[in-house]
Amino acid sequence: MSIDVDIVAERRNSGLDRVHVGNSSFPTIGSNEESKEVGLKVESVYRDEQSRWIVAVAENRDKKAFKRLFNYFAPRIKGFCQNNGSTSDRAEEVVQEAFVNIWRKANLFDPKKASAGAWIFAIARNSRIDLIRKENRPEADTTDPFFEQNEPESPLAVLETERKSKLLRDFVRDLPAEQQQVLKLAFFEEKPHSEVAEELGIPLGTVKSRIRLAFKRIRSEFGEI
């Protein structure tokens, strides 16, 4: 496994996230006593600029960074919602709700677990469910005492996850058209796979096999997940 990382002794003011060697990224029971910060910082070269903006919002309540996030994502969230048949007004309501939530939840963003785009997608999706469908969005909560925590990952494994997430974004663009179409109908139009079959006028089994093919490629490209 070869991973390009910058290892820097101390860059506290860089505004970039740091991985504490020897300190697990997941709060596992019993691990806290042994964990020691050794002062070595590992900084990912894969982290995108937008992740730094979210971190700046979380740590410094930085409105300039917030505006940058808005300028980049707000028009895309609007476009994303309009794919679903929402009017311009409704789509803009979702945009506003999403950005209030981005401000509120920025401190929960963990760049080691998700890219900025994935995290903001999840917030926009949930805002859309809340405002348009008027339903709750049940989510697993890592602070729940009955949440089964992951095995702690080494800092290098965390970086490998980040590298793969970055590759995944390019990879989606290169999927065969019919696999991409199924994913787009699911994500843009919030169509369950059964309705995707109806809309495309193809058997449910065909939709399932396209989903499985897309997943198989994601798996083979990124290792067993």
Binding site: F121, R137, A140, E151, L168
Partner: protein, 220 residues
């Protein structure tokens, strides 16, 4: 926790994309609370969503949108989690995740258990979802549930105890997915009541009166 029965890729895709309605989503989120394997795939699917969002066509916004957001920020404090945890003694005993207990009263004694007969009792979770029903079920240890069939889809997540049927053996954390008209006869493990969450298509989807009368039983 050794989990052997996972979510299908189609169900996980529907949940990650946001297409899945609330009642089903409770079952998916309950399984994700217990299963790091499915969580990893869910995270990848959210990356797919992020990738599609980043590549989507930007649409121009009305002038005042950012100002409107800024006006709302003062009232919006920083989030501390997904809400209040009901960490009741009862939920602890059965290892029921917060995503389910959030729908229930904090005090276990006030849980509106309703008998379904045959020693089985249920609490229906109140959701805004009219297409499916989520219910917590308690089935006595060693119970053999009568042979029955299902109409439509069903998801069951086990929290404590377990059962075996024609399709396999299910224990804590496992999720069972049933499609269409499956016939089965679950047999609850000895020694421990089986506590599980079952999500079924809303009864009004069934046209036959007989099926609707029998719904409490086949809803297991």
């Amino acid at each position: 926790m050794k989990i052997t029965h996972h979510l299908s890729e189609e169900f996980l895709l529907d949940y990650s994309s946001g297409a899945l309605s609330e009642a089903w989503s409770i079952a998916v989120a309950a399984h994700l609370s217990k299963c790091s394997h499915c969580r990893a795939l869910h995270a990848k699917l959210e990356e797919v969503g992020g990738s599609l969002l980043s590549d989507s066509t930007p649409e121009g916004l009305s002038d005042d949108i950012f100002e409107n957001v800024l006006d709302r920020l003062d009232e919006a404090g920083a989030a501390t989690g997904n809400g209040v945890r009901h960490n009741s003694e009862w939920a602890s005993r059965y290892g029921i995740p917060a995503v389910v207990t959030d729908y229930l009263a904090a005090d276990a004694n006030k849980l509106p258990w309703k008998s379904l007969g045959l020693g089985v009792s249920q609490v229906v979770l109140e959701t805004k979802d009219s297409s499916a029903t989520a219910r917590l079920l308690k089935i006595p240890a060693g119970k053999k549930v009568p042979h029955h069939s299902h109409k439509g889809r069903e998801l069951t997540v086990i929290f404590s105890g377990g059962f075996t049927d024609e399709t396999g053996s299910y224990g804590p954390g496992d999720i069972q997915e049933i499609h269409g008209s499956t016939e089965h006869q679950p047999w609850v493990r000895e020694g421990e009541d089986c506590i599980c969450l079952a999500v079924t298509e809303a009864p009004l989807k069934f046209s036959s009166v007989a099926v609707r009368l029998a719904q409490p039983l086949i809803g297991i």
